[in-house]
Symmetry: C2
Subunit: 270 residues, 2 copies
């Protein structure tokens, strides 16, 4: 985001803070940030816009910490994958209307300053979930920033966003991580065979399991109400397919696979 905003001429100075001094130094060395804030509580001092890009369950605490140094009229936004809780937790600590909840539908399984690209948001949607406290001017300012960074803003109710992402992102991560967990337990002969015979199905189906466990822990916890019923459906589907295989029931297996294919074909038209 720092690279994209800089490339767009949308920022004059980027001040960074993070848990790891090493990562911060690396970000400065790469020109991602201009300087490192002396402490987390200082990162917002003098800023026109503050971006919170941390695991979603830390957003409230960070908002509380930065609030005293926040300039009048400064805007704060996040980039997290769950929005209802973020709005509730952050807004309680900030001036009314200062927080604009955002979720760019972009990113990869990689992280850290070396994975940064100014083109990350190019042509990607960025969901904006205005809250009751947001004025139109604040929302429009943040939308303009996303547009400058290459993204296409899409306004959506926070509750609907959380339902959509439970299905379209959080559940796929649950599937990928649990599948990859099985692969972690394979015996060495099979692992060696797989390294000789890489399959595109394994590569694609598990890709997002390379993502940060700490980030995804928070997302799965934070969107529990929307996600849990879908996880239960996935478990039921899996159990049905398991039973079909165990019984050698080709018709049952084919019916389950056909339902899956129709779901895929509807949501990802070829």
């Amino acid at each position: 985001m720092a690279l994209a905003a800089r490339a767009a001429g949308a920022v004059t100075e980027v001040v960074g803070w993070g848990r790891s001094a090493e990562t911060l130094e690396r970000a400065r060395a790469l020109g991602v940030i201009d300087r490192i804030a002396p402490a987390r509580a200082d990162v917002a001092r003098g800023a026109a816009v503050v971006v919170l890009a941390t695991p979603v369950r830390s957003l409230g605490e960070i908002a509380r910490e930065i609030a005293p140094a926040l300039a009048a009229g400064a805007l704060v936004f996040d980039v997290g994958s769950v929005k209802v809780n973020a709005i509730r937790e952050v807004e309680r600590h900030l001036p009314r209307g200062a927080f604009v909840a955002c979720h760019p539908i972009a990113g990869t399984e990689r992280n850290g300053p070396d994975a940064a690209s100014p083109l990350l948001f190019e042509g990607k949607a960025c969901v904006i979930c205005p809250s009751a406290g947001n004025g139109e001017e604040a929302v429009a300012t943040i939308e303009a920033l996303w547009t400058a960074m290459g993204a296409e803003p899409v306004r959506m109710d926070a509750a609907l966003h959380d339902r959509v992402m439970a299905a379209g992102s959080h559940l796929p991560h649950v599937a990928a991580y649990t599948l990859a967990g099985v692969l972690a337990g394979l015996d060495p002969e099979v692992v060696s065979g797989l390294l000789r015979l890489p399959t595109s199905s394994l590569r694609d189906t598990t890709r997002v399991a390379a993502s940060s466990p700490a980030m995804w822990r928070d997302i799965l916890l934070d969107n529990k109400d929307q996600l849990l019923p879908l996880v239960e459906k996935l478990a039921a589907n899996l159990d049905g397919l398991r039973a079909g295989i165990a019984a050698g029931d080709g018709d049952r297996i084919e019916a389950i696979l056909s339902t899956g294919k129709s779901g895929r074909d509807r949501l990802v038209p070829s």
Copy 2:
């Protein structure tokens, strides 16, 4: 395969047979095949090499049907995803040593003559599972054909192949199809949201669920012994993650995600 063999100058004439007259005509119109066999039992007549590319549980019956017309010295190979059963079912109908079990680790979720590409095998591994009856000359001939088509032959014991593919291909398909099955049941508002906000995680995690249900029904049935224990492990992992989310147990969730990440990072080095 027809396009790749033709591009390599490895074939003089390609004769095709399939269940659908429409598909056969389309393949001929596109120049994928030269002519259509009058009936399935005739497809092998006069052929030096016969390729069986059908759902794996139909291989034995087809071998039985084509055997009477098979020329002396002709070779037969398949391209199926399960090898122990294929060898047993096909060899009982063909002259000793005539069948060479093959599995190119290539292909996409698409099928039919319009999806054909002469470059499909370029740089991809093709597993050859020699059986006790195979002479070195027959295996070398089939390997040379694969090499001509751009693939890199890899010899492997059939039983090990089936274990490797259960983990590296069949289980990922189980995960993708059951995940996509959940998405098939989403309500219209969520579907509409997902179509506005396409995610790469959904796209990649479900990609192979666009594959042919009939083909995958047979694979899952045919490799049941290797696959079922892995499906059970996947179900146990999923239940563990479900329980962690339900209990709000961040440590448990993070441990499961970290195990998944280590499995992914080991098998698909970045």
